[in-house]
Amino acid sequence: MYQPGILGRRKCSWKPWMVALTTTAVLLALAVITGLLVYFLVFDQKSHYYQSSFWIPSITYSPDLSIEQSRHRTNLKQKLINEIDVIFQRSSLKYYYVKSHVVNFRPSNDGLKADILLKFQFPHNNVGTLKKQADSILNKKLQSTQSSLKRDISLPYLREINAAQAENILNSDCGLGMEYPPTAR
């Protein structure tokens, strides 16, 4: 009686080209997923610009604050920008905060007012939430006794302005050009 030949176990024998193809497809899929994640988490951010106004009770307005390159104006601008930088760089928005700019100073019957422009990079999907956070961070900080800045009640919340107008303001100072002398590398 013929012992029926035992069928060799059907070896699952993938041909090399099938293995290569599958591996490539899997790697490709992983790369696309990673890319999309990176894009939406990192690159899908957009610049948002907000106007604000601060009241500085401890400083009296003086005419040289309206002279473009006066030392008083330059120093006070830098001081305000440093203070705002610290507020946001030590906050939950530190990864979204880009910079701030002092647009101008105005006299106020009890001190001085400063118009400020803030630039953030927010992901598309939660601009509103992050803006509310920025407002609450500012309000909390400016209410503390340490801060020389107070919220100007005439502009209690951040007000968004469009990019072209904002960039126009951010770049309206004179004389900003090549870094000189070139910083030693």
């Binding site: 390159q69 072209a164 960039e167 126009n168 004389g175 050009g177 090549m178």
Partner: protein, 232 residues
């Protein structure tokens, strides 16, 4: 610009090109969103503002932005082919919006002093040497201020440099402004990287020639005239 090098993008964001029929004729400097400062002699041939176009950005072939000219105001005492009072202000047909690549240069106070040997930059799309080719990309060169006394020596310009002019370059020649750079800026960096407009490219004998440095209109000398015309 003779013996210079191509400028990086946004290094000199106030530099503008004055053109007729798409041909670059002169440089100019943006001093506000609607005013340029340049040389009066640029308009010796074409006085009609409508003939002119202003372009901004580092390359002539692909400008960042262009504008037409609304008006040209030439210094009252300027006379064609003379060097004195070689200054003019140009009003753009509409204001520009500033950006990282388009900004204005600071104007110094009338009292602003600069000492000889101070390092300054002159920029432009002028010829790369006397009777040489014209570049498409903005060129820059670092030069030095030379005192008017030295520039008025017999073997230099023999008394032709007046108090309304400023002399810059090297007596050894080479690095210099050249034909087509007229009207462009001579700037100095002051106080935390802020650039001030010291001079306007005006005249010189040849380009980069020994004992013949460039002569610029001294902006501080005309600071009140500029204010009277532009209110800047």
């Amino acid at each position: 610009i003779a013996d210079g090098k191509p400028a990086d993008k946004a290094s000199w964001p106030w530099q503008s090109s004055l053109q007729v029929d798409g041909i670059h004729l002169c440089g100019a400097s943006l001093i506000s969103s609607q005013w340029l400062l340049t040389s009066a002699h640029c308009f010796d041939t074409y006085k009609n503002p409508k003939l002119w176009t202003v372009s901004f950005g580092t390359t002539l072939s692909h400008p960042l932005m262009t504008r037409k000219i609304a008006s040209i105001i030439i210094h009252e005492n300027y006379a064609s082919h003379k060097h004195d009072d070689d200054i003019a202000v140009v009003k753009l047909s509409s204001p520009v919006l500033f950006s990282e690549n388009l900004r204005r240069v600071c104007l110094p106070d009338a009292t602003f002093q600069v000492s000889p040997k101070s390092k300054v930059f002159v920029t432009g799309w002028g010829a790369l040497k006397a009777n040489g080719p014209f570049p498409n990309s903005l060129q820059e060169v670092e030069i030095e201020i030379i005192s008017n006394d030295i520039c008025n020596q017999v073997n230099v310009y023999g008394g032709a440099v007046s108090s309304g002019m400023i002399c810059a370059g090297f007596l050894t020649g080479k690095l210099d402004a050249c034909e087509g750079d007229s009207g462009g800026p001579l700037v100095i960096s002051h106080d935390r990287n802020i650039w001030y407009l010291l001079g306007i490219v005006s005249w010189g004998i040849d380009c980069g020639k020994e004992n013949k440095p460039g002569i610029y209109t001294r902006v501080t000398h005309y600071r009140n005239w500029i204010k009277s015309k532009t209110n800047i």
